[in-house]
Point group: C2
């Protein structure tokens, strides 16, 4: 189970924002007709603040192809979303994206359309300051 | 641009089914605020029958991790879908999946939920007979 490059930075950013980390990694296995599907190949962070519980898919976008990383992030988000609906429907899924990639790639209209189509909620983070810059719900 | 392992088999299956192949690969570049995004890293097949035009994302699922391939297929489908809405809105996108993987993995309820969430239309094909087994629209 390979942690994403900025996994620890996002964990620290959540703690700085007042969240309690409840699971790291958060297990996301679905038993389905005698077949266990492990969606958590890249570990999610689960956190809680008051009554709110979240799961965070951390993406660093340090691979050479941003488009390939984006395909993967979108596919994982959709699959994690349906798995959470079954396993833990109160928990809200977020995709965590570094601020520089958010500004440079994700604000393009076509990318915004793709995020909207899967109803992605996003945390924009700064990996150098270990801080959350924006919540997009 | 790497073709999928069963790319030619799906092309032959479409021709056998009476489709005319109009583009192979079908280019899917979107100009977006002075930034060209090439979504077609894995080439789509475009085909036509009477007035109906389709684009087909071929998936072989021969990689070791079916779940990773599935994440990627779902992310690509969603991104191709929004790109087609901009570039060629009359064309219908299909995800082509081999029959054995369809039976063994895709019929699981959690996987069906994930496909439904992105409104995926599917072509199930037999790569040994080069035939289309089922259209799921």
């Amino acid at each position: 189970m390979a942690k994403d490059f900025y996994h620890e930075n996002v964990r620290l950013a959540l703690e700085k924002d007042g969240w309690i980390i409840t699971h790291d990694p958060y297990p996301l296995k679905v038993d389905d007709v005698g077949y266990e599907i492990d969606f958590g190949a890249e570990p999610l962070i689960a956190a809680q603040k008051d009554e709110t519980t979240i799961a965070v898919e951390v993406k660093s976008f340090i691979a050479p192809s941003t488009v390939n990383e984006f395909h993967k992030a979108v596919g994982q988000f959709n699959d994690y979303y349906v798995a959470l609906e079954v396993k833990d429907p109160q928990r809200t899924l977020f995709l965590a994206i570094p601020e520089d990639i958010w500004m440079r790639f994700f604000l393009k209209p076509i990318i915004q359309k793709s995020l909207a189509r899967i109803q992605a909620k996003v945390i924009v983070y700064n990996p150098f300051k270990n801080e959350i810059v924006q919540w997009i719900k």
